[in-house]
Subunit: 139 residues, 4 copies
Amino acid sequence: MEEKQTFIYRRSANYYETDQMSIIHHSNYVRWMEEARMAWMASLGVDYAEMERLGVISPVISVDVKYKKPVLYGETVDIAVTVKKYNGVKLSLGYEMKNVETGEVTTIGETSHGFLKENKIISLQKELPEMHSMLEEHN
Amino acid sequence: MEEKQTFIYRRSANYYETDQMSIIHHSNYVRWMEEARMAWMASLGVDYAEMERLGVISPVISVDVKYKKPVLYGETVDIAVTVKKYNGVKLSLGYEMKNVETGEVTTIGETSHGFLKENKIISLQKELPEMHSMLEEHN
Amino acid sequence: MEEKQTFIYRRSANYYETDQMSIIHHSNYVRWMEEARMAWMASLGVDYAEMERLGVISPVISVDVKYKKPVLYGETVDIAVTVKKYNGVKLSLGYEMKNVETGEVTTIGETSHGFLKENKIISLQKELPEMHSMLEEHN
Amino acid sequence: MEEKQTFIYRRSANYYETDQMSIIHHSNYVRWMEEARMAWMASLGVDYAEMERLGVISPVISVDVKYKKPVLYGETVDIAVTVKKYNGVKLSLGYEMKNVETGEVTTIGETSHGFLKENKIISLQKELPEMHSMLEEHN
């Protein structure tokens, strides 16, 4: 039996991402999740820039973040990306960020996404069958 | 019987907040919610900058955002802020953003917050009794 | 003789714009300059969103910022926008930010801009004669 | 005779850094320059986070950016950092960004920095002699 591999995206905190509490401002994790998501898609062979050129966009429907421990400037996190749910038209992804030095979970996130072409919801199976298969596999 | 008044924070979308989907990037709404929250606190007589100088910080514990309709550059939203729950140590706020021209709800948000002094969770009733009373009133 | 009036854009510093030096991060002033520029254009009757819909974009060619005094969270600046130079194809704008409470100059900026349509440099006089006249007037 | 080696910091453009012109928003290059600068300092053995803990901060005095070619989402630049001038109390750095695929120069930048301790300008030679020697060497 094959085990599913978790995709990990490594990210160091930038100085400009801190705020005057001397921690990474909470809005930035939403951006880190996007970076991790795009890198995860690339690892599956999906080029988001190319997908957009084909007229398919994937707007974010919802974002949830739970802040467990602050991340400080100079620290690095490993962001694990997993498929939480995929039903052909909607995709939910989970994110777990761990401080690489301490191993502590700093942040838990979830995003959900639709897929649109010419402003209409599309079936990924029809429009991007390869991506559909890959998401099915990771579901 | 007195009716609770909803606080409204008006915000215009900036060009630098757009992305190449030609909509406001989803991470920015988290920042707009912070702006609305700070303005709402100021409207209650709570000066967050002053609170920090007194050593009290209020980290964000969680953020949830639901994206109903995109906001475009040149558009303006009214952000209504309401207290969802307050139990003396934790505060949950709700946000509803409406396009001022169309009246459509664009975005629904929720944040929860703790209150810390010298890295310890504090009771707001003890440390900031006036703020506590005001939050009780709006609960 | 008529005196040229200076356009002023008022901006309050947001919490998420601070960094761990407890000042507004230097990159954000570039964004404030954009906000002030767009508001100034709107005050001249130029709707940038509309201009883009007509196919004209105005990329930034250069940005210079001199940081005199930090701006802190809770502070507000008045940003004066002036035309430094305009020759029909290139526009240079100057920005002076003053702390509204102390009157001190905090930041001096300059940006220069071209105008493109279908990736070609255009003459504003031909393409947008009204905007051209207004820029001439403020030059 | 030893040749001075140029430090290179590689950076991929993020989706959230784009704007509706479908290019990286011009303000973000100021942030990329900060990332490159911090990485360059780290390569010289200077830990900026540690420096701040010792009470030394290095505020940005000025930033200049010239935009030659846009950078698009999905593209990667190599940012070369060089010392332009160092006189013991003020440091000027130069930045040249090149699209790694095309080799074209996309962006040229310059920043200047002071060094403060307890709000007073300090001599780096006295306070951080090792960093001073390294900057002298790269001057």
